[in-house]
Point group: C2
Chain length 455, copies 2
């Protein structure tokens, strides 16, 4: 009787821990996160990137150093096939001279916290001084029409702070930043000024890309802090006309050669089947680019290192890719897809580009992949990353997604993300050691499950 019980128990345990069992993977998740927390490599590496190199605008000397830095880390950790692949990237520079000002009720000149938007042309050397007109909608701009001629249009539609997901609020407001310069120039305005994309009231201007079209004159475009936006709006409510000034020397220089960086754990059973994990190595030029997206790059490197450290050999190849030039060009993501697909068989791509915060789950672009992965929900319980939902991957892997590769995004807790995003406040001291460690472990676990189970 006792023997039968033992046999039954062994059989039960073997079923519970057979390949494919979410609970077995949950215990692997615990090992991953304990190692990640205990060794604290994610944060140490990110702090090194942030403080020894700093922000990594495409084409800059710092971006070139970051290419060398991440390649050296991958070699140091003993990854396979570590190499760089050249990519020509745009080279926009802010220039040194950047200032904004307004005249308060008493006529005194007061400074604005201002930042040229990425891609913006510079102002004339002496700057632009003009009356501003506030708008919150495209319809309002259309109604104003050519009355804005010679003026500066001030886009002041806030991100909707009541939306549970701040990314959704960003999506509803960022059109002001991305096409404000085009739309105001249609009516003869001389510049576009945009309220920073954050729900917080603070003094940081948040930059980000703005666009032009060839058929319309290119006018300068800049962001001001949300506090400044509130101040200007309050002054305008008094009904008086308000004059502001801005001066910056940003410009677009010829393209520069840069690179994607990659390294692998080669699969033991199906080495030809690739799972890409990565983030983007470039950042805007304010702050450290710590959350956006130093964190994602380090998550990917550390995910491979953790698997190696624990002797977890994947059946399929997991490749960490540091994509260059997500912020203002997507040249790295595009070049990767063109060079590697369909030449190599990509079974999945996972991007981490939402910051070094606590993991909450994964968004899965592909219906069949979602159906399979949702079956592994319990594997992510201890890591708290068990919200497996339909959703996108990331921008860098979008060229793979559009070629049919199932793509995933590491979903982290983004409540603080837009506090820092694209601003001088995106610095290493805003990153929690422990939260970074968790993100790396969650990414490692998902990559490992796909490597073992296929998709």
């Amino acid at each position: 009787m006792r023997q039968i019980f033992v046999i039954a128990l062994v059989a039960a345990i073997s079923v519970l821990t057979s390949a494919g069992d979410p609970l077995m993977y949950d215990s692997i998740g615990v090992r991953l996160v304990r190692t990640s927390l205990g060794q604290n490599v994610s944060y140490t590496m990110l702090a090194d990137l942030c403080t020894s190199i700093g922000p990594r605008l495409s084409g800059s000397a710092e971006a070139a150093k970051a290419v060398e830095f991440t390649k050296a880390k991958m070699l140091q950790f003993g990854f396979a096939n570590v190499h760089t692949e050249p990519v020509m990237v745009p080279r926009w520079v802010r220039g040194k001279d950047e200032a904004g000002w307004y005249f308060d009720g008493s006529g005194a000149r007061r400074p604005l916290h201002i930042a040229a938007l990425g891609g913006s042309v510079g102002t004339p050397k002496r700057g632009i001084t003009a009356e501003i007109v506030e708008v919150k909608t495209w319809d309002a701009l259309k109604e104003l029409g050519t009355t804005v001629k010679g003026k500066i249009v001030f886009f002041n539609r806030s991100m909707d702070r009541s939306l549970p997901t701040p990314g959704q609020a960003y999506g509803q407001a960022v059109d002001q930043r991305s096409r404000g310069a085009i739309e105001v120039a249609r009516y003869g305005a001389v510049a576009a000024l945009v309220r920073s994309m954050t729900t917080r009231l603070d003094d940081f201007p948040h930059t980000g890309s703005t666009h032009y079209v060839d058929s319309i004159p290119k006018v300068p475009a800049a962001a001001i802090s949300t506090n400044d936006a509130e101040t200007l709006s309050a002054l305008l409510r008094s009904g008086k006309s308000l004059t502001i000034g801005m001066r910056f020397s940003s410009e677009t220089l010829p393209d520069v050669e840069s690179a994607n960086v990659m390294g692998e754990l080669v699969g033991t059973m199906h080495p030809e089947e690739i799972i890409v994990i990565g983030g983007h190595l470039d950042s805007w030029d304010k702050g450290h680019g710590a959350h956006d997206d130093g964190a994602g790059c380090i998550h990917a490197i550390e995910a491979l290192r953790l698997l190696k450290e624990l002797g977890l050999q994947p059946k399929r190849t997991i490749r960490a890719v540091m994509f260059i030039n997500e912020e203002n060009g997507l040249r790295g993501g595009t070049a990767y897809a063109e060079a590697h697909h369909p030449r190599e068989k990509h079974i999945a791509a996972i991007e981490s580009d939402a910051g070094g915060f606590m993991p909450r789950g994964f968004g899965v672009s592909d219906s069949a992949a979602y159906q399979k992965l949702v079956g592994f929900t319990k594997a992510f319980w201890t890591l708290g990353a068990d919200h497996i939902v339909r959703g996108g991957g990331g921008v860098d892997i979008s060229p793979l997604t559009s070629r049919g590769v199932p793509s995933l995004g590491l979903n982290v807790d983004t409540q603080r993300y837009f506090d820092y995003h694209h601003s001088g406040d995106d610095t290493i001291d805003k990153v929690s050691e422990r939260e970074m460690a968790y993100g790396s472990a969650a990414l490692a676990l998902m990559a490992y499950i796909i490597a073992q189970e296929g998709l």
Copy 2:
């Protein structure tokens, strides 16, 4: 055919949205969090408490002001039965003179980041200067025995950073702080020095309560920052003897009258059945007591306000209680239980005392309550608070728990909690507006579900 389909659809919707349906509550959760995020009352109120009053050590003038502040807020928001109930609390004071120092290799005097532990006796006026001995375990102390006579014992066992839940690491290390002074005095040591309870390396000493027993001499006890602990440990490793000094004038004065504060939404159907929600109003005297536990008090007030704002009338009474004196006495929690139980029927008590971070779920002390509430897991999906687990309530409600009241703890993401806990770094700037808003909504939703569904 079409009509039958419509009838079937209406019937299906009615089943899906009937009372007790988790999905209906999830949509209420969305309304709660949108209102909470949009109005931003949680953060505004907490910032007001933190900056206009500051830390709220039991018996202090600031604690008295906080009693008035929270009572005024409850009246302002129109809660029912708003009142205070007097509680005698201990009155420990740090005193103004607090310093620590050591002598480095060259004999130069260097400062230590030091804080007397709560409840500690003061040092002699000129301080204590003595050789230090480092220990990491009770066994090591026992082995040293009376060789520590006349010396200062330095407890330097780190919190285990590899544990996924930092509270668990705290639980494994805090005995050094709570009974270090007793144990070293047994062997004739003149003081206890404790490494701060945090996994981070920084310059903040983290205070917290220490205890004495009447039969053993009371020696001074203090915490030093983790960076200082590393420095002292490194100096000791060189094998030379190391002398340090400490001086502080802390003392325990006679008890003072303070109060618990409470207010209600009265139940429409079973007003006599009470659900207590709350946190503790007192804090240590460093920083603002923002996360510990200003956040929990504000969560409770805002939870009631949100329900009222949305016209969600609970069937049972929800009572917000600001407990006084959790940190060094538990007098408020004890007084509440003695005065109200079993005189009133308490069906549940929920405490928020883990900081103003993102909610992740609830710990439920009682097996039957857990079984019922786990059925509402999906109600907490959108709020991301869907990890309903077995676990404790909080310290303030422990006197209710031990009287058999089912108790719950709002579980939030505590990865950053011990970075700030009991230190000068627990200030309002460490609190995210959006994370605070989420916590209030999660607490409101759980209280409302219990009010509607019973337990």
